[in-house]
């Protein structure tokens, strides 16, 4: 047993060693030896750690340890599950409300970014997680939202609140335009076509100088404003309050995020949500059971797109600036990473992953450059080692384990 593990260890470290060659410090003519050995050393250490764990597990030491810990583990788990889920949600909400008052401006800004990614992740989760359609051009809908707010506000002076429904409509239309030709496709083709569509939209924004100002971007959009009545000496007047402060924008983002969470939750448990899962599992069977697959797939695209569009409008309003380079393919990858790491189809998982992925790079700023590197590696590793994600959706976890059991029976 140990021998085969050792063999595996050496082959895998050999392959990983080659895989990280692009990292080790060949700068065209010079070779940075210390860096190369550090990088290789870290990887070998990780692998060796895995090997040691495996050996301990085989020798039975791990089993004794886990057996002795099992009752404690169970107790903690029981205690945690004894508290109803709504208390957790309330605590989380309370934290989110207090957060901007307790921290500084910079952290509030990070918080807004987190909330934006939460909404994007949940929107993409509808398409990828529930309906099982891989979308690699999701950020295009975010761009549609941002640009529809910018253009409507700059050219016609339409305020934020009226632009949002218009933006949703545009998002839905864009979703259907992308969705319709891809209805017949599955898997890989779908991925590449959505990627192509995402790039088309970005290139259009970049090249259509007359409308979108090209790579310079648009600026000077109004911030969202609240209008409320006020009774003064002169009687009833309407007061406009521009949400200029970061805190006010944070609460707006929080409101959008909470609405999204509630909406996605409701969708997940509705007839439509179950139909999506049916399509994901077996499209032919779903169609035969009377699920209108075509409409529901379009609906998944349209709804996913509209969430992204809303938050895109918010993003443009927050910065008062947009630019096609905000909407590159890498951004789609980040959102997809959030969905995959959190657990495909799982709302709490997506929230946790969004917070981790947008907050961690801000905390460790010196590691900023390694961010996407780690995301990419984590994505591949996650698929190989734990395909259900950090916090798996209950439904999906059961499915995956059923598949494992099935395999056991077969072998």
């Amino acid at each position: 047993m140990v021998q085969s593990d050792l063999k595996k260890f050496f082959t895998y470290s050999f392959f990983l060693g080659i895989l990280i060659l692009p990292l080790v410090g060949f700068a065209t003519t010079t070779f940075d030896a210390p860096r190369a050995f550090t990088v290789w050393g870290v990887f070998v250490a990780i692998l060796a750690f895995g090997l040691i764990i495996k050996v301990i597990r085989h020798s039975g030491g791990y089993k004794n340890l886990s057996d002795s810990l099992a009752p404690i583990h169970k107790q903690i788990k029981d205690k945690l599950t004894a508290v109803p889920a709504k208390y957790y949600i309330l605590a989380l909400l309370a934290f989110a409300v207090i957060y901007p008052m307790a921290t500084n401006r910079y952290l509030v800004d990070v918080g807004i970014t987190c909330l934006i990614y939460i909404v994007l992740g949940l929107g993409l989760n509808i398409v990828v997680g529930l309906a099982g359609l891989l979308d690699l051009g999701y950020i295009a809908f975010y761009a549609v939202g941002a640009y529809s707010y910018s253009l409507l506000n700059l050219n016609f002076g339409i305020p934020f609140w009226f632009c949002i429904p218009i933006g949703i409509a545009f998002g839905c239309i864009a979703g259907c335009i992308i969705g319709y030709p891809t209805l017949k496709m599955r898997g890989d083709y779908l991925a590449i076509v959505t990627m192509g569509f995402g790039e088309i939209i970005r290139l259009m924004l970049n090249n259509w100088d007359k409308l979108t100002a090209g790579p310079n971007g648009l600026y000077g959009m109004a911030k969202p404003a609240l209008v409320y009545p006020s009774i003064t000496d002169g009687g009833l007047t309407w007061v406009t309050f521009h949400l200029k402060s970061l805190e006010a924008l944070y609460f707006l983002a929080l409101a959008i995020a909470v609405l999204t969470v509630v909406g996605v939750r409701r969708l997940d448990r509705s007839r439509i949500g179950r139909a999506w899962v049916a399509i994901r599992e077996d499209e032919v069977a779903a169609e035969l059971s009377g699920v209108p697959t075509m409409w529901l797939k379009l609906l998944a695209y349209a709804l996913g797109a509209s969430f992204a569009s809303v938050v895109g409008g918010f993003f443009a309003a927050k910065l008062s600036y947009t630019n096609p380079n905000f909407f590159i393919f890498m951004e789609s990858c980040i959102v997809l990473c959030i969905v995959v790491l959190g657990g495909v189809g799982s709302t709490p998982g997506v929230i946790v992953a969004a917070v981790i992925l947008s907050a961690v790079p801000e905390i460790f700023r010196e590691l900023q450059n390694y961010r996407m590197l780690a995301f990419g590696a984590a994505m591949a590793a996650m698929m190989v080692l734990r395909p259900e994600g950090l916090i798996p959706a209950t439904r999906r976890k059961r499915e995956l384990h059923a598949a494992e059991q099935h395999q056991h029976e077969e072998s």
Binding site: P22, T28, Y189
Partner: protein, 306 residues
């Protein structure tokens, strides 16, 4: 320059670009044919090949080997670059794709995408974000057909590309390993029953496909004079469009599709606003997928797999 010379010049450009796309598309089509997976990391292997070739070339130039033994140093540049990327391809297959061979398609695609992000950022970190210049080893010497100027470098690259495609064709049609490859692509369980080592065949595919991509990467570097860590992305999408256009899984299809995409792109940038040329390629790809997903030379069986 009169119209005929202009057309000849564009024709050379189109053949060059077409053979680049063909070489990359071959890698896609072979991998897709054998394990039904889009190798998203293929674009990064193209770039990695380009960098590996550049490193070898710079090293050789430093010791003055390029001036004394030009042909031998070109063989070394292409040979070492392709060999490195071939091993890289096998490593990716072993680490990221092999464990997922029986898992869902979504998991395999996401793993491939993760590998692609990992490699492209790895190259960004080690090679920097800016363009890196390739030494102009071919110079500007050339000959003229009417007014069109054709450099020896262009001729060398085009001949090499066709030679690689031809040898691949010979390999796939007449060697034992090539036959095993085709058999595995057609029916994996049956191939295994007939005594073909399926794992080995897949490994060989993952060496040849990325190796061809690396050759294309070095050619692009030599031809345009610079490489960048993220140049693989746009070539990858276009080569994928070529593979689909020719019918994914079909080797002559990939060559034909690459040529067509190359000609469309060059024609578009010669006569129409060139900033829209990428959009045109994507639209062609989407139209092909929508109207005829099996491609020009693909078997109709692929339509079931879509």
């Amino acid at each position: 320059m009169d119209t005929t010379s202009f057309l000849i010049q564009q024709l050379i450009n189109a053949i060059f670009l077409g053979s680049i796309f063909s070489l990359i598309a071959l890698g896609y089509t072979m991998v897709y044919g054998i394990i039904q997976l889009i190798n998203f990391a293929h674009g990064e292997m193209f770039t990695a090949g380009s960098f590996a070739g550049l490193i070898v070339l710079m090293g050789l130039q430093k010791v003055g080997f390029v001036d004394s033994h030009f042909i031998l140093s070109m063989v070394l540049v292409f040979g070492l670059g392709m060999a490195y990327v071939a091993v890289l391809g096998v490593s990716i297959e072993q680490v990221a794709y092999k464990p997922l061979r029986n898992a869902s398609r979504l998991a395999a695609i996401l793993s491939a995408l993760g590998m692609s992000i990992f490699l492209s950022n790895g190259m960004m970190l080690s090679q920097g974000v800016s363009d890196r210049g390739f030494p102009p080893v071919f110079g500007w010497d050339g000959f003229r057909i009417m007014d069109a100027k054709i450099s020896y470098g262009q001729v060398f690259i085009i001949i090499l590309a066709f030679a690689l495609m031809y040898s691949l064709w010979i390999f796939v049609t007449s060697t034992k390993l090539g036959k095993a490859m085709r058999a595995t692509a057609q029916n994996k369980p049956m191939a295994r029953m007939l005594g073909i080592n399926v794992d080995k065949t897949i490994r060989v595919t993952f060496m040849i496909g990325p190796g061809l991509g690396a050759a294309a990467g070095i050619m692009v570097g030599l031809y345009y004079g610079s490489v960048r860590f993220d140049m693989g992305f746009i070539y990858m999408i276009k080569a994928f469009a070529a593979a689909i256009l020719g019918g994914i899984g079909s080797i002559p299809g990939a060559m034909l599709g690459g040529m067509i995409i190359g000609f469309v792109e060059v024609a578009w940038s010669a006569f129409l606003p060139s900033e829209w040329k990428d959009v045109t390629t994507f639209v062609v790809m989407i139209l092909v997928l929508y109207l005829k997903p099996s491609g020009l030379l693909g078997q109709s069986a692929t339509e079931d797999k879509v």
